[in-house]
């Protein structure tokens, strides 16, 4: 399997210039770099791994490692769907499903872009649209607790299924996974535990990494 293609905020190499079309956070201007999104497509998966993870992110990473994932997959603790406008992603965070600029991740997180190359342009847009239909859905805190409990037993254990509560609530990796499956009617990940985690989206060979470089601002 080829290595992961990762955009690292510590990498100062740039391949061109990015001209913001509107106001951007001063901290981003100070950082001085923006991803070359010309290679990205709507409906792409974005995976994030914090350079200095919060305790919540650390708990997800440790849970995924304890549950049986390799460190290079377990380190991805957050996922989002790229909406195709050069700036915005749809994500499930503790504040629920929301549409947000990706600015605040760029200086502090490793970033990885993945996609199913067999999809048509229409299918890609539909993935983005399906994610947007879930705007305002609450975050599935209960499922995170269940996942943590399962991690102790190992995600590989047969019969180690989650008691899933609340169809409306969603976690970040399910937002992409379910949007993908609604469009393609294909299972992206057969997670033994029943719930798709960011590490599953890192691991699946149905998606391939998209090479991305930095542009200077």
């Amino acid at each position: 399997m080829p290595g992961q293609l990762v955009l690292d905020p510590r990498d100062r190499t740039t391949t061109g210039r990015w001209q913001p079309s509107g106001p951007v956070p001063p901290a981003l201007r100070q950082f001085g770099r923006f991803p070359d999104v010309s290679t990205w497509l709507p409906g792409d998966l974005l995976l994030f791994s914090a350079l200095n993870p919060s305790w919540v992110s650390q708990a997800i990473i440790r849970g995924q490692e304890r549950g049986g994932y390799a460190p290079e997959d377990a380190r991805w603790h957050h996922a989002a769907v790229y909406l195709g406008d050069g700036i915005t992603v749809c994500e499930a965070s503790s504040r629920g499903v929301r549409r947000t600029p990706m600015y605040h991740y760029l200086q502090t997180h490793l970033l990885r872009i993945r996609r199913d190359e067999s999809l048509s342009s229409d299918e890609r847009w539909l993935i983005a649209m399906n994610a947007l239909t879930r705007l305002g859905s609450p975050y599935a805190f209960g499922r995170i607790l269940s996942l943590a409990r399962q991690a102790w037993q190992g995600y590989w254990q047969p019969g180690n299924k989650l008691p899933l509560i609340g169809m409306r609530a969603v976690i970040c990796s399910e937002l992409f996974n379910d949007s993908y499956s609604l469009v393609t009617e294909r299972l992206l990940v057969a997670a033994p535990s029943g719930t798709v985690k960011p590490a599953d989206l890192s691991l699946t060979s149905r998606l391939v990494d998209v090479e991305t470089s930095w542009l200077s601002i």
Binding site: N130, L187, G194
Partner: protein, 75 residues
Amino acid sequence: MAETAQHEGKILRINNAGLGVVEDEHSQQQFVFTFDKIQNYRGEEARELGLTIGAHVRFTATADSQVTAVEIIRP
């Protein structure tokens, strides 16, 4: 027309966007389906259909794992 096979299994996950995941009771293989594959589906929500986690369903799927029909046997 693609060849299909009959399966029975339990609902592993559903969401309110109209997506379900079912696990074959024999092979433990997972399949994904959209609610429009449920017989006589007319836009109802999962709970109105009796589609719950653990519900027993009969379903058909093609060789490449595309579910073509779902019948709820026991909610």
